[in-house]
């Protein structure tokens, strides 16, 4: 497999990898670094790629695992402290503006979901994979994917309704 063949087979889902990484890592720069790192890994393992029926699903699984590793190592070091400080500063300024913007409210609500549900929402409602594929990517049974997705959707909706009513009163 030479470089152009490789790029032809893996570049079409580059943005999906990036968006998944951003969903988990939050910052755009980190997501870009993660995307770059993932493509390194794919390139290094290019001989094995032919063995996989679904390279895209394989790449998404790798992205998920890589991001979880990043998050773990961040938690272990002091980086989280810096990050939370930064966030606190931001909220004071931005909440006022964002409260009106219900679309970015959805972003925050998804951010608060458990990791599993976050992933399922990202892969289904944004990237529109079918349950089989999501199951393969996350190593779950399709029924488990359904349950997680249903919970995530219901939570987001409930929270939005709550905030909406609160705003009227």
């Amino acid at each position: 497999m030479n470089q152009s063949d490789f790029l032809k087979s893996v570049l079409p889902f580059k943005d999906k990898v990036f968006r998944l990484a951003k969903r988990l890592l939050v910052s755009t720069e980190e997501a870009e670094d993660a995307t770059q790192e993932l493509y390194f890994k794919l390139w290094r393992n290019k001989e094995k790629l032919a063995n996989y029926k679904n390279v895209e699903a394989f790449a998404m699984t790798m992205t998920k695992n890589y991001c979880f590793d990043r998050l773990k190592s961040k938690q272990a070091s002091n980086l989280t402290l810096v990050h939370s400080n930064y966030k606190e500063k931001e909220t004071a300024l931005e909440t006022k503006i964002e409260q009106r913007d219900s679309v970015s409210q959805v972003h925050e609500l998804i951010d608060k979901l458990p990791e599993q549900q976050k992933l399922v929402i990202q892969l289904r409602d944004i990237e529109q994979y079918d349950f089989e594929e999501i199951g393969k990517m996350l190593d779950l049974k399709p029924t488990a994917v359904r349950v997680a997705l249903s919970r995530a959707r219901k939570t987001i909706r409930q929270e939005l309704v709550k905030q909406h009513n609160y705003g009227i009163i």
């Binding site: 990036f18 995307t35 409210q105 409602d125 944004i126 249903s150 909706r157």
Partner: protein
């Protein structure tokens, strides 16, 4: 699409029982901007999904590692060094006599300019002789006083 059908689909949607096609129908309905007031929360949900999907990474992918680049750079540097040494050595042995001639010519030029300098310096010295004569006469005058 009728409102009752949308509501039915939404019920299924919350239970994660909709197909991708049905979800596309919902997406279309909520992107029209003509949404029933009691379904507003879904509008922001589907709106957010659509916006998120449009986000792309601006950074191009690089497949060659930095380490590899450094290796190539050092190879290129050593080749450049070898070539420059070889070329420099060739000039040294091949152009020997001509270099000598150049040195001689430069020597002659330097000598001629030095001569020019010395003659003008001598002129200056002659002028200094006049100064002494002046000083002598001044001394004579001072002594007579």
């Amino acid at each position: 699409m009728e409102l009752s059908k949308i509501e039915q689909l939404l019920e299924k949607y919350l239970n994660a029982e909709t197909s991708l096609q049905e979800e596309a129908t919902l997406k279309n309905y909520f992107s029209t901007g003509n949404v029933a007031p009691h379904l507003q929360e879904y509008e922001s949900m589907f709106g957010y999904f659509a916006i998120s999907k449009a986000e792309t990474s601006a950074k191009p992918i690089q497949l060659n590692t930095k380490k590899k680049n450094w290796k190539w750079l050092s190879v290129a540097a050593s080749v450049a060094l070898l070539v420059s040494v070889y070329v420099g050595g060739g000039f040294g042995s091949g152009g020997g006599p001509s270099e000598d001639e150049i040195a001689k010519a430069q020597y002659a030029e330097v000598m001629s300019t030095l001569k020019l300098l010395s003659t003008t310096l001598n002129k200056g010295n002659e002028a200094m002789g006049n100064l002494y004569a002046y000083e002598n006469t001044v001394n004579k005058i001072l002594k007579t006083k």
